[in-house]
Symmetry: none
Subunit: 200 residues, 4 copies
DNA sequence: GATGAATGAGCTTTCATTCAT
DNA sequence: TATGAATGAAAGCTCATTCAT
């Protein structure tokens, strides 16, 4: 037994916390937050429920921790965006990087998308709203036509939609990603274009 | 008006089923399906839980019944759409009427949007997916460029997004509705336009 | 109207009551008393639960009424037996007629056999015990050897067992009945025989 | 005994599962399965209902576990019987040991006898039937007269009856047991004897 | 004779959480 | 680091019963 060749036991040490997060996120995304019980998570990890409580104070903390670990890119993005000038280039970059951020933590965002009612009641609910507002404020010219404001918001949502709905659109997954990005960029450009003319 | 203020008791008789649906939908939309207990619904109606079970066999049946009662317009729309030629006019009409249908049963659709994980597990989950596919098939030219397919789907989603997110965009609510519709129509037109040129 | 025989009205009256009894007994025997709900009975009759309450004051009353309607033969038998001399002929006749009585109301006795725990708590529980004791006292000579007392009781039980277990013994049903009776009679004869010798 | 008055609390640890089984069996046998609620069991043990669920997944599992723990002797007996020659000695031994097995787990068998309707619906229902058939097949000569087949089955039932009904036959309990066994053995001998003569 | 609507009590089961070890 | 044992609260649901109509 000693300790040679890593044996499952050895390797696990120290990353149980991570494993909990992984399994939990998988289940949350698949079945929803409320329908996923701690018993289920524990069983899948082959530990006891009590073990989860060693690593996380509450069930909510598990999802919050995932949130905190996985959403840094988005926070950074907003931070960055705020300091840039309101040019088209900035907006395009925001869209591009937001798309990447979404793709980089797909399960979490799928979870958030499909459990909005739950997320809203959670501690993270407000954070989420703050993002959306932050991004919106960067993308939107406050004195733009209403239609163009909608267009900007819709560009963001196109990226969201892209993650889920496009799944049952046939075609190469990478190409679809590009197409989605293309459409979103296009919308942001249209919105920007109009605003310029108006400003002339 | 006959009986003036009518006294709550009198009016209740005979429409309890409806009242249950109303209250339930309100709570489901507000807090989510799982977080809303039958006790809560019953309390708000000042009846016992058992009374709910006189009118509905299960909790799920309550939401299913709402679904069945409120989604006829959408089903009709798809039915109608299928029989029309794939012209731009058809597509525009679909978008317009879909927007109306969403607006006409806002709480239900908000519920569905925000409880997707739940809805998916419910009996109605598949119906919902079938819609989306039905609409998509009507709006999309199967041999259109991927980008334009995305554009069509995104037009639909713009309408969805319109219901919820725009809420914290400032401005007159009627005008916002129009703006959302405008954007959605615009997208569908662009998608259609490209397809035409390609066909030339 | 008056009272001529049968006018539809007349016939119906007391007919629903009967139908309830029939259906109830069928279900009680099949699934047990507790597992059979009034809803189920009502549904099978295509009436409402409330209708059952027009005919019977409680659920228990349904089973009690069946009991009262179907067990007269047994009560008569005991009554009769008590007044006879303790001869072998009397005992044989008791066994014979008891067998017939069981066969004549099979579902009820099957119900009682398979729901003893329930029956015991019901109002009829004691009546049932009283029978058994009544029959026993007729069949048993109080100063007989213990072994022969057992034999007598066992003769009775052979008849009971005959109703249920023999079901999966192959063979013509009528012949099986005869065989069971034969065995029971044989036992009672043996018991009686010994007692006689002892008495010599 | 070591710790004097032992304090209820101390002793409990580690054997809760057993205590649940004991109390449950007692109540099931006394009042029937359906009429015994988990609340009642829990209260009598001075634990919460949830504690029961820590030890057993469902109410049914409690009775099933009892069944599994207490019926090994019977299964062994059948196993053994199947491998013996169909001599009278074998049959006598079966009767003798079956009687012992019944006596060794009286409450369980009383429960099964008095809750047949319930047991039939439970997971264990079939097992029970299989026994009866197994024993029957060992005791019965397939080409024996019907009357003797009945006699064999009835011998088994005499043992069953012995457990319950004899209770209100007066006399020393040990002597009654012997008498019951005697009668059962006698029946099996008669059945065997006839078969032999027929075979001559 | 029967229904429609409702109730009160209770049931089995599940859940997040705690804590001594 | 974890487990074993347990809890308190609540959930969805069913049942026998009632009563005005």
């Amino acid at each position: 037994m000693g300790g040679t060749m890593d044996g499952t036991k050895q390797q696990r040490r120290g990353n149980t916390r991570q494993r909990i997060q992984d399994v939990a996120l998988g289940l949350f995304a698949e079945q929803g937050y409320e329908k996923t019980s701690l018993r289920e998570i524990a069983e899948r990890l082959d530990v006891t429920k009590a073990a989860l409580y060693y690593h996380f104070k509450t069930k909510e903390e598990i999802i919050v921790s995932l949130f905190e670990d996985l959403t840094k890119p988005i926070e950074d993005l907003i931070e960055w965006g705020r300091r840039q000038p309101g040019t088209l280039e900035t907006k395009e970059e925001i869209i591009r990087r937001y798309g990447e951020a979404l793709a980089g933590a797909e399960p979490l965002f799928r979870f958030m998308q499909e459990n909005q009612a739950t997320v809203r009641e959670l501690r993270i609910g407000d954070t989420f709203k703050d993002w959306m507002r932050g991004l919106r404020d960067i993308l939107i010219d406050p004195d733009a036509e209403l239609v163009d404001q909608v267009r900007s918001v819709s560009a963001m949502f196109t990226l969201h939609a892209g993650m889920f709905v496009m799944r049952d659109l046939e075609g190469d997954s990478e190409k679809k990603r590009e197409a989605v990005l293309e459409v979103a960029l296009d919308m942001i450009r249209q919105a920007h274009e109009h605003a310029r003319h108006k400003g002339d």
